[in-house]
Structure formats: C-alpha cells, structure tokens
Amino acid sequence: MIKHFLIISTLLLVFLFCWTYQVSGFFNFVSQKQIASFKIADHFSEVINNGSFEDQLQGWELKGFVEIDDDEIVIHKVKIGSQDQEFQQNGISQDLSLDPDKKYFLWLVYKLKINETLAGFDQPAFMVLIDEKPVFYTQESTLDWQQLLVPLPLVETGKLELIVQNTGDLLITPELEIAYISTDGPLRTEGVPLPNVAKTIAQVEQIAEIEYIQKNPGTILKFSTPTTQFPVFSYQITSDSSAFKPKFSLRTNLNSTQILLPTIHPFQELLLLDNGLTSAIYTFSALDAHDQVLAVGTLIIE
C-alpha cells in the first residue's frame, strides 16, 4: 500500500512539474506580426487620348515619319521613324491635362530597333519627354515588346513627347513601335497578342542622391536611385564646356566586368538589380577623352 502511494505521489509530482513548467523537448510556437503596409496609388485615370491608336493617329501631333501599322491584326501600333525616311527626329506628342495634386504614372508598350553601329557618335535613342524634360531615355534595341512604367512629374499641364532620333548623320534611323500609352494601368497581357511583353520596369520617385566627387570644374554628375527592388539608376551629366565629352563607366561587385557606357547623355537609366538580387555595390567613374578620371561615385543598394 505504501509502495503504491509512493508511486502515485511521484507520478503526481512529475505531472504537476510538467504541467506547471512545461518541461518538454517538443514545444512549438507560433507568432504573427504585421511587417508591411501598402497604399495603392489612388489615381490611375486615363489622361491619354487615343493611347491604343484605335482611332489611328487622332489626338496626336506628328513629327517626321509616323504611320499606323496594323500588321498584327488585333493590336494597333504606330511606327515612328523609318530607315527609308531621313528625319533627324521622329515622334508623336500630345498635350496632357493633369491634376497637379495627384501622382500619375505612364505605361508604355514599345519595341525599338537601332541598327546604328556608331552609337556613341550619332546618339540614336528613344526618349519620352514631359515639357521637353526627359523622363525616359534608352538606346537599347529590343527584340520583343517592352512594357515600361514611367512616373510623371507633378504638373498641371504638360506636353508628352515620344521621340526617336539620330543626332548624327541620317543614314540609319532608329525605328520605334508603340502599341500602348496609358495612365490607366498596364497593358493586361491576357488575351492580348503580345507574346513577350516584358516585365514592368518599376521606376518610382527618386529619393536619394549619392555622393560624388567633383574633380573637374564645370563637370557635374548627379546620381540618384529610386526606392524599389527594381532600382533604376539614373544619372545626368552636364557641362559648361562644349569640349568636354567624358565617357562614363560602371563597375559592380556582382561581376568583374566593367561596363563602359558609350557616351555622355542628358539622361540615362540602368536597371541595377534583377534576377532576385537584392544588394549590390556599383562604382561609377567618368573619364575624359584621354581616359583621365574626372569624377567617381559609389552607389550601394541594400
């Protein structure tokens, strides 16, 4: 009887110990915490007139060679610039009425062909301007349709221009195709015969400027990067000297290859992170015609 009492008492104590202190190798735990909040932009309303070109070129001012090209049956597209037509600039433009208190974004679906072999000399390019100020600039040819997202400046009215140009000789003219221009949201790819619409390149407002070292009076380099996980580095180089024609190079810790950008531009953009990368260190330098370093800067993305 005493033996049984001791056994029971011992088990009771073990039970109480386990129950009270939960001494166990098998705990598991859960937790929940809010880690982010997002506010969706509240104004995607359309301010572009005939941005899908269903009404041909109605609503657009034309410059140089521009024609509607409906070869792809469903998608209406406009072709700007032609190898057979010698114009320094080709483009379309439209006056926009905006609410200056609201943020607008411009979605573009485009395809660009540049065959110029002397890109640094002739500066073939496609650019988007608002009131003559570039908001997008590229020299990269695209095999497939690209969907681009461009934040617009806070203005009440503005002239939207899409220009392709060759500032040098007119022997080779870039050709641009535009299938969609809208402030009402991206082109929905479902059911739309654009087989390779590229990912949207998210450009958001620039929030920071990195430091730069100015070594050459009269040379100004501005670096900035937006807060996004598709950060697009944009830079602007200006000079009060017409003889100043620096080259611009970029080096990253992600690979050892130095990218030498072909020439100076009023506005240029580079997609800095992609493929899941979330951090990088880029070193920039501007060189003069004799490869002397004029300025350097470092940009760290984390």
Binding site: C18, V30, S31, Q32, I35, F38, T189
Partner: protein, 187 residues
C-alpha cells in the same frame, strides 16, 4: 480479499493512466500564440524585429518591394522555423491573389541565399532551410538571421484597388530541433 486487491490494482493503474495522459498532454502541447512581436513560453522564445514596418505609398501595378526583418532565437534551445505571409485589404472583397512572394532570402553567416520558388502566392509556407537547402536551418539560441522577403503587386490589378490599403503580416512557426518535435497544426 482478492476483490479488494484487484480493486487496488485497478485504482493504481487508473491513476497512473490518468497522470500519464495528463503529462503527455502537457508534454506535446506546450505552445503559445502571440499577436505581438515576441512570444515566450518555457525555454523557447523568438523575436521578430524590424527597424520599423515597411510603409509604402503610391503603390502601382507591377510594383516590387522588399521587406526585411530579423529573427532572433531568444530562447535557450536551437529551433527550426517556417512562415508565410498573409495579406488583408482595407476593402475585404479585394483579392490577395494580386500579390505574390517573389523571393525569400536568408542571411546567415554565409552569403544570402534564396529559399523559395519564384512567384509564390500569399499563404504559401516557406521553410527556413540551410544554405544547401537540403535540410532545415538550425537557429541556435541567441542567434539572429536576417530574412528578406520580396513581394510584387500584379500588373493585372484593376482600378478597384486604387486608393485601398494592404496590410501584410508574417505568420511564424518554430519548433525545437530535437527528434520528435513537431510543427504546430495551425499558425
């Protein structure tokens, strides 16, 4: 006499059985749920730390954002961990299918490494695995790992999402690394 002895035996077995069940219940369900940042029970404790929750305005379709936070094993025993993201719109009728988890990266001693497939839906669990992704990452007592979650808003978001807000929450589960431990059934 035999009946009395038998009765004693039955009583003893009954008490032992009851105590065993009780101890087992205590043994296997030691857990806690907390809606705040830290949960602590027994010898296991994990904290989720951010400098501040990410707050983004003017989100646009196609936007991609990264959320960083630290997980610290503040308990006294090594743990395994897993989690998922959950989203709540200010307008309950809106779908969370327009948000996807593009990447979950872990920074732990070595270089950052990814532990998820590309473009998972909200609610999809991710296991915090080791860098070789063969097994789970053992987070020692006192150890901190950095987690970087990339989320993307779909390009197909329609206009009804304009002006609305989304709250993203991390649901985290942890268990001890000893043999026999199990994940919570819900978290």
């Amino acid at each position: 006499m035999k009946i009395k002895k038998l009765a004693k035996t039955v009583v003893v077995f009954g008490v032992v059985a009851a105590l065993s069940i009780g101890a087992t219940v205590a043994y296997f369900t030691g857990g806690a749920h907390s809606n705040d940042n830290v949960f602590t029970t027994g010898s296991l404790s994990v904290s989720i730390d951010q400098v501040s929750p990410l707050e983004v305005e003017n989100v646009i379709p196609g936007g991609f954002y990264q959320i960083d936070f630290d997980l610290t094993n503040t308990g006294s025993t090594p743990i395994f961990a897993k989690g998922y993201l959950d989203g709540t719109w200010s307008e309950p009728a809106l779908s969370t299918q327009v948000i996807s988890v593009q990447s979950v990266q872990i920074e732990h001693e070595s270089s950052p490494y990814s532990i998820t497939q590309f473009g998972e839906a909200l609610g999809t669990e991710f296991l915090i695995t080791s860098p070789d992704q063969i097994g789970m990452l053992e987070i020692d007592a006192g150890e901190t790992i950095t987690v970087k979650v990339g989320v993307k808003f779909s390009e197909t978001m329609e206009n009804e999402y304009q002006g609305t807000s989304l709250s993203l929450s991390l649901h985290l589960a942890a268990k001890q690394t000893v043999m026999g431990s199990d994940w919570p059934t819900e978290f």
